[in-house]
């Protein structure tokens, strides 16, 4: 039989690629997380993690750091996104671009700049490790929070606000009853975009001389010690958190913003 080209066949290389580099590594991680160094199945890796005050402390510290960072990002990003969407400037597309541009600059170089400024202000970075980490992460992740909220507010049907006004609502009331609820999907994707990196991006802490571990640093230290089982165990815990998060938020709005896309 003669070979016939069909468009479906184009999916085969990508499907194989996903199988080898996405699905297979996950299987390997589950396998390593659930076996000991002698290869026998065991739950010891997890028991060690959840019974050691040090690693539990790391989990708690990551959660608190991520929570504070997410709140600070939200408190800054919401007014900015609101101003971008409602200031009715002619140059608003340029302004949006200005808020996206930092994503295109390498984050380690941006952190270098921030580090120099913080050193100038504080003298010694070691005095305020937690504060510096929150500032660093906010500086790094802020665009991920601004963009989804802005996109949501931009799409908001402005006639609803006029209707609220006609029906006698004041500015504050129409914001609380109309704008805020309708912008929630953007807020939720923003939170999803910031919370997880804030638990894992240990480079921010390293560069700002905060020696406390977060979940990401644990993978780094297991990796440095060639402890594949420990590293896999942490990865699996993080994957579980990601699953819960994805199911809770169920939105794919924010993810596109990661590549600095304007669409």
């Amino acid at each position: 039989m003669k070979y016939r080209f069909s468009r479906k066949q184009l999916a085969i290389p990508y499907a194989l690629f996903l199988l080898v580099f996405v699905a297979a590594p996950l299987v390997v991680i589950v396998y390593y997380a659930l076996t000991g160094s002698d290869g026998t199945p065991t739950a010891d890796n997890f028991i060690r993690f959840f019974s050691d005050p040090n690693t539990l402390g790391t989990l708690l510290y990551s959660l608190i750091l991520a929570l504070v960072t997410t709140c600070v990002c939200l408190l800054i990003a919401y007014p900015v996104a609101y101003a971008l969407a409602f200031s009715r400037l002619k140059a608003s597309s340029v302004l949006v671009m200005l808020f996206i541009m930092p994503m295109w600059i390498n984050f380690t170089l941006r952190l270098t700049a921030l580090k120099e400024i913080l050193t100038l202000i504080e003298g010694n970075l070691a005095f305020h490790p937690f504060l510096n980490s929150v500032i660093g992460m906010t500086y790094d992740f802020l665009p991920f929070m601004i963009l989804p909220i802005y996109n949501q507010l931009e799409r908001l049907d402005k006639s609803l606000l006029e209707a609220a006004k006609d029906l006698g609502a004041g500015d504050a009331q129409s914001f609380i009853k109309v704008t805020l609820p309708l912008s929630m999907p953007g807020v939720v994707s923003g939170i999803a975009m910031v919370f997880l990196p804030a638990m894992t991006n240990y480079v921010v802490l390293d560069m700002l001389y905060n020696s406390t571990y977060i979940m990401g640093s644990l993978i780094g230290s297991y990796f440095a010690a060639y402890d594949w089982h420990g590293g896999s165990m942490i990865s699996l815990i993080l994957l579980a958190l990601i699953c819960i998060f994805t199911l809770l938020t169920k939105s794919d709005e924010g993810q596109k913003t990661r590549g600095g896309s304007l669409v």
């Binding site: 080209f5 468009r7 479906k8 066949q9 184009l10 999916a11 085969i12 290389p13 990508y14 996903l18 580099f21 996405v22 297979a24 590594p25 390997v28 991680i29 800054i76 007014p79 900015v80 101003a83 200031s87 009715r88 597309s93 340029v94 671009m97 200005l98 994503m103 295109w104 600059i105 390498n106 380690t108 170089l109 941006r110 270098t112 700049a113 120099e116 400024i117 050193t119 100038l120 500086y139 999803a192 997880l196 638990m199 894992t200 991006n201 480079v203 560069m207 990796f223 590293g231 896999s232 990865s235 994957l239 990601i242 794919d252 993810q255 596109k256 990661r258 590549g259 600095g260 896309s261």
Partner: protein
Amino acid sequence: MKKRGFLLLILGVALLLIYLPILILAVYSFTDATSIGFSGSFSLQNYITLFTTPELSDMIWGTVILAFAVAAISTLLGTCGAIGAFYSRKRAQALISVVNQVPVVNADVVTGFSVCILLVAVFGMSKDTFFPLVAGQVTLCAPFVFLSVLPKLSQMDPSIYEAALDLGASPAYALRKVVIPQIMPGILSGFAMAITLSLDDYFVATYTKPATFDTISTYVVNATRGSQTSIKTALWALSTIIFLIVLLIAVIGNVSKKGERKAGEED
């Protein structure tokens, strides 16, 4: 009117906070000062060091070449994947989309570690081949290309492709001449995203790169753990150059967008 002034103030302050560190660093990159806050006189030494130190220029070119290679492979894979998935049965498309979502929502640290453990620990591959690094970054980038191309396919009018077949074009020819041009904006923005992600990546690179090779991210992180002052200040120059390139791209993008809009209005 008062409200609008307040909104503009918010935008102004936010932009100032975002750009102040980069701009201050840019000013100091043109001096011989070794720390911000110290006075120094005008000097181009940082830029000379940046371009004449082999270690630094190797690292910059390495990062750029890697980013283009990774983006090219990711774009090819992701675009073909999106076209194939779009015309496959719904169940196959849903399956590919779900797996595609994993690297997108996953923490980079986990993506990098998982690719490393598969290739290095299970298959015993050497990182010096660059294969783990390229494969790892493609794993990070290709799903974004896929996500950027797929919506363009559903926006397309399917009857044009059918018309091409009726007029005697082979499926491959019609794909090249009809489908690809229509989804080009999605392919290009996917390519740009892949470049950005690869240039910005630290975690995948650090787990999969050869020991002797550095990307900008891994180099800068190592440099902050104590290195010569001349290297530290040369990185200020690098930050300034990257900022200017990004600014230039943004300006060009904005001007060409305006041109398109004008051309559209004249039609």
